[in-house]
Symmetry: C2
Subunit: 222 residues, 2 copies
Amino acid sequence: MDSTSTGTAPNASPPPGRRRGGAAGTKGVPRAEREEQILAAALEEFGRHGHASASMAAIAGRVGVTKPMLYAYFDSKDGLYLACLEHIATRVIAAIDEAMAGGPAAPAGEQLPHAVLTGLFTALEDRRHAWFVLYDRTLAPGSELRLAAQRHRGAIDGLAASGTAALLSGHGNEDPLDADALKHVWTGTVSSLMGWWIAHPELSTEDMSARCARLLTAIRTA
Amino acid sequence: MDSTSTGTAPNASPPPGRRRGGAAGTKGVPRAEREEQILAAALEEFGRHGHASASMAAIAGRVGVTKPMLYAYFDSKDGLYLACLEHIATRVIAAIDEAMAGGPAAPAGEQLPHAVLTGLFTALEDRRHAWFVLYDRTLAPGSELRLAAQRHRGAIDGLAASGTAALLSGHGNEDPLDADALKHVWTGTVSSLMGWWIAHPELSTEDMSARCARLLTAIRTA
DNA sequence: GCGATATAACCTTTCGGTAATTTACCGCTT
DNA sequence: AAGCGGTAAATTACCGAAAGGTTATATCGC
């Protein structure tokens, strides 16, 4: 056995039993299903270790498959990373959109941050590491990857822009750089909380939501 | 020429002129001076790209020497990284200590965060990337490096502990986990601001300090 | 010449990526 | 019902480049 191709499935489900709903002339796991599995494993590995430190063999091993499968479904390591970016960005933006539109009543300006946080915690509960795929500082400076990550972060920042600008202009501050910096601090705060949650896996989404409510009020009325 | 040993100095100072204050029987640059140069270059490279993506050859090339020099002064890549951790942690802790002890008058609780930020901006003005050596998320989970980084971050957190705990208990909140999370958010905020400053190299330390003052008041009286 | 500084050239491992081959399921024909 | 070929899914075994690390050698000031 090649040492770069990790051994038999440590994680895969179908060792003896066989398929149910595949297309004509097929064995193994159907394409769409495998694609999801690979994407989930890649999000975990890339989020945990960063692009450079994550290895294709490790991702394959997590799925219970060998490397060539990854290249059959996604063209390259960078291609897989791009797919991860798209996936997590879509998920994050959907969560924020939903939180801002607010189910029954749209949250007012003051409690909007808490609604967004709760939405993100809910959406990423089982994928906490994936958040950091968007915020990997180790991507090569000129690379397509970094540009793509920047683009997606920009889309997310756009949703935060109205909130931060409103907060500042409420204090007579119209400096666009101030608003930009505050956006950056806000997404950084989300990163901090996600990182802290990873270090405390036993805490539920509800616990995190309540905790953030306490922290936000404490900070605001300092 | 070996492609892994980068060519002649793209950055080093002494092409023609020779030394002045070296020890007995020496050519080139004296040991202590080279050590500083290497450390500075390593802080920059590690901070920019992370541990995994930074290469020893690139660090050597930045100094204007070849790889074996790095191994002569520091034993290994990890050894060099550990030295970087010590260096930047010492610098950061000194800056925070000084800001908290406050020159003429110790800053009150409310403006302490701003004093700390200003101290950090001043201390890291010419080494902005170095901050991220302490906060590299891509370090291997079980490694000595990650433990060392955690240890140093813990020392820094210790300085923030009194402030965050005081803020929360002022609101009747004595939950130790809340205090821990708030510490994490605080250091994350510093990271965010340092990252934003890197993206805006033209801004002075004073500008950043004033900007943060504005942001802090805006946040607090939301 | 002696010792400190420095380098060229090399070794080894890891990892992204690929070509050739195999396995197993399906439907169609006999 | 038995067999047969087609096709999707998957694996084994390999290549080449990049990077960490080492050895043996050269240079320069005292």
